[in-house]
């Protein structure tokens, strides 16, 4: 490599892009070339100053990380709200379809005297219309239920689906609310088509 060609590689050397033999060659060149050495020395000084400036306290506004964090959380929350709204619509459509098919009767609470389903179990009802998925919801008091404040009742809800659908529970920020995504399986879609 000629002297001129080596001089042209100064910026690659300074950027740390030269490794192995080319780097060794350039270091030998630096020892022999006062011009490149001078350029490298002045660059090193500038780099040192810029890195010092970069470490100065107060360079980044102290509240900026929290502001960014909050912005991301807000966006995340908005997306979850939209997803939840979509899920509720889906569940509502699915529930309507099941009820229309006669397979999804009223759920019962064990302490509810007006409940029509004994023991919290639903009456399976008549056979479903072809193409509708089946689901069974069981509402019952949790095993270790503590005395509840007046006007409040705690219940555990178990939902069982047939093979036609997949139910995916999604927890929300509110521990008393869980959204249930309901997807038809490919087999059900094919059968429905």
């Amino acid at each position: 490599m000629t002297h001129r060609e080596l001089c042209d590689r100064l910026d690659e050397f300074l950027a740390g892009d030269l490794v192995g033999t080319p780097c060794d060659e350039f270091e030998c060149h630096l020892a022999d070339c006062p011009r490149c050495r001078d350029e490298a020395d002045s660059y090193s000084r500038i780099v040192e100053l810029l890195r010092t400036a970069d470490r100065e306290p107060g360079d980044c506004p102290p509240l900026l990380p929290a502001r960014v964090q909050e912005a991301v959380s807000r966006r995340r929350s908005r997306r979850r709200t939209m997803a939840a709204a979509a899920a509720i619509v889906l569940v509502a459509i699915g529930g309507f379809a099941w009820m229309a098919g006669g397979r999804f009767g009223p759920v019962a609470h064990p302490d509810d005297p007006e409940s029509t389903a004994s023991g919290g179990k639903r009456d399976p009802g008549p056979a479903a219309a072809p193409g509708f998925p089946e689901g069974i919801a069981v509402v019952e008091a949790p095993p270790s239920a503590r005395p509840e404040p007046p006007g409040q009742r705690t219940a555990a809800v178990t939902v069982e689906f047939s093979d036609d659908v997949i139910g995916v529970p999604i927890e929300t920020d509110d521990p008393s609310v869980t959204i249930l995504w309901v997807y038809p399986t490919l087999g059900h879609v094919a059968a429905g088509d």
């Binding site: 950027a15 740390g16 892009d17 002045s42 890195r51 100065e56 980044c60 960014v68 964090q69 991301v72």
Partner: protein, 167 residues
């Protein structure tokens, strides 16, 4: 996400790069926030976590380029000129003694064209390679090399001028 600690720790570095891009602290803050929002939306695109910083810098550079295009101030080769974009001059007399040299270096850096500032910042401060810089800024590796060369020559010139004025 929400931002994990590792990602949140990169906010200051993205901010400093954004400040080099925008030359303005308020725009830099906005650009930093937008960068992390876009990163969160596209987090699935990050294949190699070791390249998170380069990925964030690239998002910031793209966002800023889009912003300049919207404002109609981005031309193809405007950023490759060696002249300062806004004619800002060094003012050594206003520089505090305590950090005199550092302030002079920063003042000189601020007079460089934006692309040269970005290249110098990424190579000198962030220690990135020319290939990584070219990827972030959407330019060729050779353009990154040329910009580094122009930037350091100009810095040297401005820095020695500032030192002479101060003496």
């Amino acid at each position: 996400m929400p931002l994990d600690d590792e990602l949140e720790a990169l906010v200051p570095r993205v901010y400093r790069f954004a400040r080099r891009l925008t030359g303005n602290v308020h725009r830099a803050e906005d650009l930093t926030q937008e960068t992390f929002l876009r990163a969160w939306r596209r987090r699935g695109q990050l294949r190699d976590p070791r390249r998170t910083l380069v990925w964030l810098f690239r998002i910031a550079a793209n966002l800023w380029r889009d912003e300049l295009r919207r404002r109609g101030v981005l031309t193809e080769d405007a950023e490759l000129t060696a002249e300062p974009v806004d004619g800002r001059m060094l003012a050594p007399e206003t520089i505090a003694d305590e950090h005199e040299q550092v302030e002079r270096a920063l003042a000189a850096l601020a007079t460089l064209p934006p692309r040269q500032q970005s290249v110098l910042h990424l190579v000198a401060v962030e220690r990135l390679s020319l290939s990584e810089v070219s990827e972030i800024l959407g330019i060729t590796r050779n353009a990154a090399r040329v910009n580094l060369c122009l930037a350091r020559k100009r810095m040297r010139e401005l820095f020695s001028e500032a030192n002479q004025s101060a003496e």
